[in-house]
Symmetry: C2
Subunit: 459 residues, 2 copies
């Protein structure tokens, strides 16, 4: 599938180079805008406007939306005012707002000048909402109906108005002052038994809506819970201001998962796709975290330094430090990652912290004891008997395994608690993922280790 | 929003306990099935059948689908044959297939006995496809039209057939032997200018479809790329067998992200939500990974043991081991996590390995050098001058920072390469995430460290 696409792409680019414009246009007209946009991403700069002019008007706008910002900017700079107006007229309001957000100021000025007053107003309205709010991802183009319309009148209105709406399948019944009264789907309208029924008799009145301020992550969660095609966005007085459609919710879901994953990997989240990010971009997202974590691991070094004499007396102890820190870190990240994901999916709330702690504590005890047993046997059989390391006595073995068990328990408790605390403090729980937990657990595991060593080995 | 729901839930459960069934029924009838299912999750076992019988027939089926398997099983065991038939008749085929997959054998037997022959056939067909394939998540209920039908006839057919279809908004035009010829949306039909136009003149013929064998992750990626409402599933001869709808694709997207995140956190992925997982479930998903990683970190121990004399001669070196291993591990996970996510989103293919290596190498050099400089200054200023640690000479400082820079570079190269190799070998790249990379990088960082120590400190 993907390979077939690459062959097609190569052939099309070759046609462009050989100036076989008519054949190229005939093929492009059958293609999906997302696929055409993928080809644009691989074109050279000077080829982009050339190929763009081969697209039909409608296709041009749809492809434009799917292109990356660099190519969009390049095209706009090359457009005549007329060409720009043609593309902008075909855009849905939410896509236009996205575009305005991405472009530099002088390009934005040209776009807004070409947009008709209605659209300019809507764009400005969307841009006023806080980033990551429902208001910022909604579109203001939806089908609105009146409660006293009949089914037949509603269908007629959809047929007249539908062309410019992003979805016609869910329609909103509004009263005076755009107050949201109910919703009705095209399926309901088509399957209604009597064309003369007024909408107020068949519309759904128990509507699930969000406000313009609702966080986009919450919006995405509602889509995945309720399987809606669209969700109405209302203001504080239940007046309809727009809708969010499922495709935008899907994008949010994907972006939020990527953001969590990047934070978990100790990076500043970025919206740029990997292949578009320069090494300098990557450096900027990664270096601060590495520095922060490097500096915090200084404490671990300080702990080791303060137990230098103990280590000098029992050099064998040093060999188990990486295993202890590693296992502690892994135990902690398992818990933190699980809790972070459950918080993101909305399965877990802060009020569940008691349940979580109790669950993790029991899991940690099982893991800690089981690992300690395995570790005890392994050290005795491999290190002592097989490698005949005389320094590793039964007591040393015991110290290591007791430290291991306790470290695992502490790591899991810390791992599940910190993300929940971050959540309640309004921070992103994903920040509290593996690297952060590991740094804390590293220090804890050493303290526990040396404590047992002091107690049992009397050093 | 979420809190308001909890208040409603509490009130409803109280009504159930006080046997105010009529009021309860009146409220339930206005509620969304997903919300009702959420209430069922908090009911006691004996309350479940009681409240279920208060739902309307259609609501009962829709709520049933959203409930968790334990509650479903409990209900089915309590159902009379008639009640079971009523619920099964209302289910969409793909939901029925999911149910059959979840239930124990004796329950499945009863379900299949109550399903009508047509549905039984479809369920069996869906269950035959490999897990995680498009065939296993599709539904066989879609609207199919003929190429010579007019727009008016098509709308009539949708009105007659639509009730039982999961979506009516995208309809498929099929020819002889169910061969897929084109697709047309209800929007196209409603907005068509002439009711007498035959479908073949206005249908979209350049159709993007998947086969029954296509991986569900690939299916989800196509939804997020093309913003489809539904995607046709065909067999090897382009014969239509079903459709996947956007809501199922959304679930797949969420599940696949969760699976990646769990693997990255060194756990066996599980489909059970966290709050439903017992400590024993969690133990089973976590313990094998911890053991595996613990045993592999033995090598790190061996490396330290073999350099025991060097460490005894220069005890100061030990204090920097955690910082080196930690920074190496974090650098490696940054690269691996980025590459794994890009592979999952389909932004990256194995053929890009050259580009990735070159990008990561340059990033790694920048990170490595910058970190080494920071580290050098920090050790000199804090450890040497501030804490007056005489053991930390300029040479020791140099050894640590050279080792740090080289470790970061190696860690990033290893971190970006392993997931891509896993991908090309057909394994899940997410397995190659932080914990795995960290274990390798731990060993590498020590070897690099001791190599520089031997060279520069002549120990």
């Amino acid at each position: 599938m993907a390979e077939r696409f690459e062959i097609v792409e190569k052939a099309l680019i070759q046609m462009l180079e050989e100036k076989k414009y008519i054949t190229l246009r005939d093929i492009l007209v059958t293609m999906n805008p997302s696929d055409i946009a993928a080809i644009f991403a691989d074109l050279e700069e000077k080829q982009i406007p050339l190929m763009f002019r081969l697209l039909t008007k409608e296709q041009a706008a749809e492809t434009f939306v799917e292109m990356d910002p660099d190519a969009q900017e390049l095209l706009i700079r090359g457009f005549s005012d007329n060409e720009l107006k043609e593309v902008v007229d075909e855009l849905y309001v939410d896509d236009a707002a996205d575009l305005v957000e991405e472009m530099p100021a002088n390009v934005v000025k040209r776009i807004l000048k070409q947009a008709d007053p209605e659209m300019r107003k809507s764009i400005n309205q969307i841009l006023r909402y806080p980033e990551n709010s429902a208001g910022s991802i909604m579109t203001t183009e939806y089908v609105s109906l009146r409660p006293n319309m009949t089914v037949e009148e509603a269908i007629l209105r959809i047929r007249r108005q539908g062309v410019d709406k992003e979805t016609i399948y869910t329609c909103y019944v509004t009263g005076k002052d755009r107050r949201l009264l109910g919703l009705i789907t095209v399926k309901d309208l088509l399957l209604a038994e009597d064309d003369e029924t007024p909408l107020e008799q068949i519309m759904l009145t128990n509507i699930i809506s969000v406000t313009t301020q609702t966080d986009q992550e919450e919006v995405a969660r509602m889509f995945s819970k309720y399987n809606f095609l669209a969700l109405p966005v209302v203001d504080g007085e239940n007046r309809m201001v727009g809708i969010v459609t499922f495709d935008d919710a899907m994008d949010v879901m994907e972006d939020e998962a990527t953001e969590d994953i990047e934070l978990m990997g100790a990076m500043t989240p970025s919206e740029k796709p990997y292949l578009k990010s320069s090494p300098l971009d990557l450096f900027k997202n990664r270096f601060p975290w590495l520095t922060l974590l490097m500096v915090s691991s200084t404490f671990t070094g300080l702990i080791i330094t303060s137990f230098e004499d103990a280590l000098a007396a029992q050099v064998a102890l040093t060999a188990f430090i990486p295993m202890l820190m590693g296992t502690g870190g892994n135990s902690g990240s398992q818990s933190s990652v699980t809790v972070i994901r459950s918080l993101s999916l909305g399965e877990l709330k802060f009020k569940d912290i008691g349940i979580v702690l109790w669950k993790e504590l029991r899991t940690a005890l099982m893991c800690g004891i089981a690992l300690a047993v395995v570790c005890f046997a392994k050290i005795w059989l491999v290190d002592h008997l097989l490698f005949r390391n005389e320094e590793i006595t039964l007591i040393v073995d015991l110290v290591v395994c007791l430290a291991l068990a306790l470290t695992v328990v502490i790591a899991k408790v810390v791992g599940c608690t910190l993300p929940m605390i971050a959540k309640v403090l309004g921070a992103d729980p994903a920040v509290m993922a593996s690297p952060f937990i590991t740094t804390i657990v590293d220090a804890v595991s050493l303290l526990v280790y040396f404590m047992f060593a002091k107690m049992l080995l009397s050093i």
